[in-house]
């Protein structure tokens, strides 16, 4: 993946197939992102850990071919990893249960059998796989910035105007939804935060008082290097997410790639390619590496 300003091909314009519709890979990633968000809610995950899981998943498939690994397994490992890194430790058993339920809504709880343990092992092994594939990048989420911007804006707006307009809830919804695509891989965290706020104010027709008389517009205050074209781009990409949502059926599941040897069929998951049998020391080292990389 290139740096800011370019999307991972999976999320941005390059992901358009013919007729401007999302390319097949992009559709898979969109669905998996939805899986992560839904599973995250059922696991009681907060917004930032869920967002982190989405990013980990996306970044992994920036480097790696979609055919090589089962995306849902990578997603489950991403959830597990994100929970560790963002101080909301989750148990693999819960991740497995919630994921199983997602694919088999009316099924019975999973048996504690060899398939269960294989799946658990796969998640842990994938975790290390993901860690080793991460390029060095300190990653920032928009949430913290957005919340501060909201406080600043709230003080300037008339309080009755603020109370009757659900700006805070709307921006939080927009930001959470934005992780269905890899916006944060293509734009700065602060820029996304401002753009989301800008969109919400536009939606509700909220005027920032004395905007016209100001020397500097409010959105420029929040981010010095933000420009109107960038804001418009982000807003456009955000809105597109909702269009894609209506175009991609989320169920039935994408048909899995041609049968690969050793495929675990209970959740339709593939074991990871490398079966090195990493030791606990390796696992610990991997986590340290991730934390050092600024996650």
């Amino acid at each position: 993946c290139e740096g800011l300003g370019h999307y991972c091909t999976l999320g941005g314009a390059a992901a358009q197939g013919s007729e401007g519709r999302p390319a097949p890979e992009a559709r898979v990633h969109f669905r998996v992102a939805r899986f992560i968000v839904e599973a995250g809610v059922n696991l009681g995950m907060r917004s930032i850990p869920i967002a982190t899981a989405c990013i980990i998943y996306r970044k992994f498939f920036c480097e790696t071919n979609l055919d090589a690994y089962d995306p849902y397994l990578i997603a489950m490992s991403s959830i597990y990893l994100a929970g560790k890194v963002k101080e909301q430790r989750l148990r693999t058993r819960d991740i497995i249960n919630v994921s199983n339920r997602y694919f088999n809504p009316s099924g019975e709880p999973l048996e504690l059998d060899s398939r269960f343990w294989e799946l658990r092992d796969s998640i842990v092994q994938c975790e290390l796989l993901i860690l080793r594939s991460m390029p060095f990048q300190v990653f920032q989420h928009s949430h913290k910035y957005l919340l501060h911007y909201l406080v600043s804006l709230r003080n300037w707006l008339n309080r009755h105007s603020w109370q009757r307009t659900p700006v805070a809830v709307a921006v939080w919804a927009l930001l959470r939804d934005s992780y269905h695509r890899g916006l944060c891989l293509g734009f700065q965290a602060q820029h996304i935060a401002v753009a989301v706020l800008y969109l919400a104010l536009q939606v509700y027709g909220v005027e920032v008082p004395a905007e016209v008389e100001a020397e500097k517009p409010w959105w420029q205050v929040f981010s010095d290097d933000l420009t109107k074209p960038i804001t418009d781009n982000i807003v456009s990409d955000l809105i597109q997410i909702y269009t894609i949502d209506t175009e991609i059926p989320l169920r039935p599941w994408p048909s899995l790639p041609k049968e690969k040897p050793g495929m675990v069929s209970c959740l339709g998951t593939l074991p990871p390619r490398r079966h090195d049998g990493w030791s606990p020391e390796d696992q610990l080292g991997g986590l340290v590496v991730l934390l050092e990389k600024g996650w």
Binding site: L43, N97, H148, V151, N158, Q163, D177, D245
Partner: protein, 321 residues
């Protein structure tokens, strides 16, 4: 649906949004009834053309308008009101919780005239103000406002807004003698707004706690020290002396910004509920989630099932029959 909110949006975007809404939400019964009244002119002087968009260039906005029209039933739903406390809050003086910033209007460099006008539009009875005594008369004392002590945090120090504290609103500090003798010009005073004449820009304050709303009644009114001045004001003063400092720099160098609990703190302050997370995706609405699918519920069911199987396998159940 929230009629006023919808009208606010329509006022901004004009008739093109109205027609989009009509086509997107035609099956929505709530909207059909609202559409009649929302399309009518609001109270007050009727505008020339009721649905003329506020700004001329609405063409580039069509994407946003389509978005609004498709999601209108979610965006304008009454259930979306935030849970933030409707009552004004005390300014957070602790800099540890989050990055307390100088007022936004200071960065925006909004002219004093507009700040003044908006202050008098937005100030409310029961708000706490802080100022310096400028003169003492027989009927009370005047103070020049420095900053706010509750509710909206505004930059007002240079606006030279004065407030009167009448004698009857000054508690006496001794059994005899003039209550005013306790005070001197230059004293920093914390007081509650008691009366507002918005048109004439006159304010009357009180030093009695009864002038404050119940949740603020614990705040000490009267003389305060300069150390007790709110953090946002001190940051505002710093910004004045170094006006090139950016919002981002100030925020990122603030201790509160790196507080591990900052997100949780601000979510609560803003009334955003993570346990019932909002979304504009139809599939992610809270009604689509069931407690039966939560990790804890699944775990319980699974544990019970495993336990039962263990009993059956061990043959223990034979003893129960």
């Amino acid at each position: 649906m929230d009629r006023d909110l919808l009208r606010q949006s329509l006022n901004c975007h004009g008739s093109s949004l109205l027609s989009l809404l009509r086509s997107e939400q035609q099956d929505n019964p709530h909207f059909r009834s609202l559409l009649g009244s929302a399309a009518e002119p609001t109270r007050g002087p009727p505008p020339q053309q009721p649905l003329q968009g506020r700004k001329e260039k609405r063409v580039d906005n069509i994407e946003i308008q389509k978005f609004i029209s498709k999601k209108a039933d979610l965006l304008f739903a009454l259930s979306w009101k935030s849970d933030a406390p409707a009552t004004s809050e005390i300014n957070e003086d602790s800099e540890d919780h989050y990055a307390v910033m100088p007022p936004l209007e200071q960065f925006m460099e909004i002219p004093s005239m507009d700040r003044r006008e908006l202050f008098f539009r937005d100030i409310e009875r029961g708000d706490i103000v802080i100022g310096r005594i400028s003169s003492i008369r027989e009927f009370g004392f005047f103070m020049v406002l420095i900053c706010l002590g509750s509710g909206i945090m505004r930059d007002i120090a240079h606006l030279e807004i004065t407030a009167l504290c009448p004698l009857r609103d000054v508690p006496s500090h001794s059994n005899h003698g003039d209550p005013l003798s306790y005070y001197q010009t230059g004293d920093i005073i914390r007081a509650g707004i008691k009366d507002i004449d918005r048109y004439h820009e006159k304010l009357a304050v009180s030093l009695y706690s009864s002038s404050l709303p119940p949740h603020l009644s614990g705040i000490k009114l009267g003389v305060i020290s300069s150390e007790e001045l709110p953090l946002y004001y001190r940051r505002s003063v710093e910004l004045n002396s170094n006006s090139l400092e950016s919002y981002e720099n100030i925020m990122q160098s603030s201790l509160g910004f790196v507080n591990p609990g900052v997100v949780e703190f601000l979510l609560e302050k803003l009334g955003i509920d993570e346990s019932n997370p909002p979304s504009l995706m139809r599939g992610l609405q809270s009604k689509n989630f069931s407690e039966d699918d939560f990790a804890s519920a699944l775990r319980k069911k699974q544990s019970a099932s495993w336990a039962l199987k263990c009993i059956l396998i061990s043959g223990f159940h034979q003893y129960l029959l």
